[in-house]
Amino acid sequence: MIISIVGLSVGILLGMICPLDIPVAYSRLFSVALIAALDSVFGGIRADMDGKFDNTIFLSGFVVNALLAAVLVYLGDQLGMDLYMVALIAFGLRVFQNLAIIRRYMLDKKTN
């Protein structure tokens, strides 16, 4: 939990410093990548609390999910369909699920 917050802060700092700008054309791709990363982080925290966190599964999950999302965005652009919505909704649902589980763990800790 703490390590992820530290990573987040470092990332935000990097983002402030680095002069990179997202081109308007790739804005969708980046939003999907963002939600994929969010999903991965929450999944990781939850797995950590479960006590079965595995670095390989975690990283490969992040990469594969992000790739699939990117493919969906590209395909959607070619077909004229908002396919990236699929990725957004799927990731969003999982974020909420994971958040619910994390919340329960933390409540359990408090009551104990």
Binding site: G11, D21, S27, A33, L34
Partner: protein, 253 residues
């Protein structure tokens, strides 16, 4: 090496280097997206931009297509009108044979014999007689006239050359056959008008047969181009020198 790092980093946390990395990526993306959204908020919404640019591209494509179509149509029209113009000019210049309703007029010398002491010339057809007939035909709206197979053009002469008549520099003798295309009724009436050409020529016994036909043929003028001295004046100069000088077509016979 590995041990040293393991010492520095808590072994429980060593596992979660990936978590830290992905968190970092998340933070990076969050800030980038945040900044990008800030920029977008200042301008039109992104989707609107995309929609507008797509529409612009479509419209430009349509405009190009329409422009090409317009060019094609104007070119075709120009060519058509030019062809029509050329055909008209060729007909006027006598470069093409023409057919249509009209008159065939045959004129021959008088059979009367000249009385003694009278001028024999009065009983023979002269260029003036033919000219009067032709002039009358033109006045009555004849569109094309030929004399003994010679098309009368703007530059044609009708002139006595000894006992023969010279038209387009080609000589022929009586009888003369004039073919005129036009409204045959009007042409005939113009000639037979009281006190007109036919009346005058009849006095001298000159024979004149007029036969209206539903279809007559006038041959084309097939001599060389009559222009050897005259050159066209550009239109701008012509308007400048309006009335200053006549542009007379050279009578290059």
């Amino acid at each position: 090496m590995l041990n040293k790092i393991g010492d520095v980093i808590n072994p429980e946390n060593q596992n979660r280097i990936g978590l830290a990395f992905v968190s970092m990526v998340l933070g990076l993306l969050l800030t980038l997206q945040f900044r990008a959204t800030l920029v977008q908020k200042e301008s039109l919404p992104f989707q609107r931009i995309e929609e507008l640019s797509a529409r612009l591209i479509d419209t430009e494509k349509e405009r190009d297509n329409l422009r090409a179509a317009l060019r094609e149509v104007t070119e075709r029209q120009e060519m058509e009108s030019r062809a029509a113009n050329v055909a008209d000019l060729e007909m006027t210049a006598g470069l093409v044979g023409l057919t249509g309703p009209g008159l065939v007029i045959t004129i021959d010398d008088s059979k009367k014999t000249a009385k003694t002491g009278e001028n024999m010339n009065l009983y023979v057809i002269h260029d003036e007689d033919i000219l009067r007939v032709v002039n009358e035909l033109r006045a009555a709206g004849a569109e094309a006239i030929s004399l003994n197979g010679q098309r009368l053009t703007a530059n044609s002469e009708i002139r006595c050359a000894g006992p023969t008549m010279s038209v387009n520099n080609v000589r022929s003798a009586a009888p003369f056959e004039i073919i005129a295309i036009g409204d045959s009724g009007t042409l005939e009436n113009a000639l037979k008008m009281r006190g007109g050409v036919v009346d005058t020529l009849k006095v001298w016994g000159i024979q004149m047969a007029i036969s209206p036909r539903t279809s007559v043929q006038v041959p084309p003028f097939n001599g060389p181009s009559p222009f050897r001295h005259a050159k066209p004046v550009p239109k701008e100069e012509l308007t400048k020198a309006k009335g200053a000088g006549k542009t007379a077509g050279g009578n290059a016979q």
